[in-house]
């Protein structure tokens, strides 16, 4: 340990991250103190680490953070994350940002400031690669002098920003690869709530808790698209065939328009997805490389058919993970099980339903037959709070009928989920 050069000690202290741990460790000896003062690269002030037997009030926090940051030199990663914090006053925050301006590469900041300051203007821009902001507002993006030439990852949570500024922001980040937008407060200028984002370098995007009339995303290099808890009347995606992952959780899209070849799609994972299903099936029908398909909580009616196994095996020969959860009516069962092709490469299967029915065990048994190389099976069962006798009877029948099937397979996990209660697991 005595042999290690002081810069390496700086690296070790930087891996500790939490300010308290770093400060305590810096007291070990002269060399470690020097490493703390001159070679510390990362520092984190997180309310989870900071509050011990006595919490610190906002003023105390401001003092601690200021005194600590100003003892270091050349800080590259700064995290200030306070849960339920009051606002910081603007002066110390500006001081922290100005002090680290020349060297900062990563900034995570989630505390409101009073009066409001424009973090983007105050923080170091030249070297910044990762920016995570929460509970702040962004206004007045200037194309002329503001650029984030190295920014690769941007995350905005509970941030107020106009749709216009958001698209401008993307345009001043020429190397951006990852964008996360969580519950943004987007000010719209027109009557129609529209968001248009364009980026040639963007590879992954995650949008959560947003409701818009129109969302247009033009991203040639997009590989991963993940929407969660979104209501979109129109969603248009313009890409160039790089898309590999398509995930929707609790999303409703009335008009889905994807000018993207979908040839390289490897993962389709949709749960509680409201969309025009025939069009969606057609869209993914060209995805020969698909490895994972999850169609969960699909509501079927006269217009919406379930994807039958024959079609799945023909469209997706390389499929290795399949997860299906439908409400199984008799005709659905017959329709799904038509044909006799096997799903040759499926090694993991997840099946679920929300309403108990006696058909489910037949469904499971048949699917097991069709997946000759299956290694892992997960079954998700939804049981209503008020369990009627009939339901309990059916559940009992289901469990009994599963036993001989279980014996055949090495690893089987049964999840019994009661609405509103925690999941219980039964292992065989």
């Amino acid at each position: 340990m005595d042999d290690l050069p002081v810069e390496v000690i700086g690296n070790i202290l930087s891996q500790l991250k939490a300010a308290r741990d770093v400060v305590v460790a810096s007291m070990t000896c002269q060399k470690w103190r020097e490493a703390w003062k001159k070679h510390l690269r990362a520092l984190s002030f997180d309310s989870n680490d900071l509050s011990t037997h006595h919490g610190f009030n906002t003023t105390e926090l401001e003092i601690i953070i200021t005194q600590t940051i100003f003892q270091t030199r050349g800080l590259r990663c700064l995290t200030i994350s306070m849960e339920d914090a009051d606002e910081f006053s603007a002066a110390p925050v500006i001081a922290w940002l100005m002090y680290t301006k020349e060297t900062l590469r990563e900034l995570c900041y989630n505390v409101r400031t009073h009066p409001n300051i424009n973090i983007l203007e105050k923080c170091g821009r030249q070297k910044l690669e990762v920016l995570k902001l929460a509970h702040n507002s962004i206004t007045g993006i200037e194309l002329s002098y503001q650029k984030f030439p190295q920014l690769k990852s941007l995350s905005l949570s509970f941030v107020s920003i106009s749709a216009w500024d958001l698209s401008l922001l993307l345009s001043i980040c020429p190397k951006i690869e990852s964008l996360a937008l969580v519950s943004p407060d987007i000010a719209m200028s027109e009557l129609q709530a529209t968001m248009e984002l364009t980026s040639h370098s963007l590879k992954e995007i995650h949008v959560e808790a947003i409701s818009l009339d129109k969302f247009l995303l033009e991203a040639d290099s997009l590989q991963s698209l993940h929407l969660r808890d979104c209501n979109l009347e129109v969603f248009e995606l313009i890409g160039k065939g790089a898309l590999r992952v398509f995930k929707m959780d609790d999303v409703s899209i009335i008009h889905l328009d994807i000018s993207e070849s979908m040839e390289n799609l490897e993962v389709v994972d949709v749960a509680n997805f409201t969309v025009v299903w025939p069009k969606f099936y057609q869209m993914i029908s060209k995805s020969l490389k698909l490895r994972t398909l999850r169609l969960w909580g699909v509501v079927l009616d006269e217009e919406v058919e379930a994807m039958d196994l024959e079609t799945i095996s023909v469209y997706f020969p390389r499929l290795s993970h399949l997860a299906l959860s439908y409400d199984l009516g008799d005709d659905v069962l017959t329709h799904c099980l038509q044909g006799s092709s096997n799903l040759e490469n499926v090694v993991a299967l997840e099946l679920g339903w929300t309403i108990i029915s006696n058909r489910f065990s037949a469904w499971v048994a048949e699917l097991l037959e069709r997946c000759p190389r299956l290694k892992k099976l997960k079954i998700f069962v939804g049981v209503s709070e008020a369990k009627t006798e009939k339901e309990l009877g059916m559940l009992g029948n289901f469990t009994t009928s599963m036993i001989p099937l279980m014996r055949k397979y090495m690893e089987t996990i049964l999840h019994q989920r009661k609405t509103g209660e925690t999941i219980k697991c039964l292992h065989w």
């Binding site: 070790i12 939490a18 070990t28």
Partner: protein, 164 residues
């Protein structure tokens, strides 16, 4: 069938067609490493650019025992098609060694400028330190403290909040 070019030799200059680099440890052992793997080390990258003669590159600061493991690490991290999760698991196994060996890895990674290995090993040491008092840290790593009592008191006062 002629041998195919190394996986990621986009950085290789046309005048150096060889794909294996020879390294010699401080105790005279020679090791071969694929160019793609060697490029993980900034030190080696510079040396490769400068010299294409083919003689083994001497590394006087690294013993054979450690160099063998470093070559293994770089080769694994240059392998294409390894998913993040399994690589992380492999890394965890790689550093599951005695304290003294971890320090040897750190010194080698520092000398050879291999950021992935350096960060990995420093993180291991950070985990050993976390939660310990300065006294405990000194004992654990056998560090001879050179703080005078007055110095120590002053330093402790400066950041008293961390000790409350």
């Amino acid at each position: 069938m002629s041998s195919s070019p190394p996986p990621s030799s986009a950085a290789a200059s046309p005048s150096c067609p060889k794909k294996m680099i020879a390294l010699r440890s401080s105790d005279g052992e020679t090791f071969e490493i694929e160019e793609a793997a060697a490029l993980q080390s900034k030190t080696l990258e510079n040396m490769i650019d400068e010299d294409c003669a083919g003689t083994p590159i001497p590394l006087p600061n690294v013993t054979g025992k450690i160099l063998a493991k470093v070559v293994e690490f770089c080769s694994k991290h240059a392998e294409p098609g390894v998913d993040d999760e399994s690589l992380r698991a492999w890394d965890a196994e790689f550093v599951n060694v005695e304290q003294a060996t971890v320090f040897d890895y750190i010194l080698a990674a520092n000398f050879l400028e291999i950021p992935t290995l350096l960060n990995l090993t420093c993180n291991v040491v950070a985990d050993m330190i976390r939660g310990k008092t300065p006294d405990e840290i000194r004992k654990f790593f056998n560090i001879k403290s050179i703080f005078s009592p007055e110095e120590e008191e002053e330093v402790r006062r400066e950041n008293h909040w961390a000790f409350e």
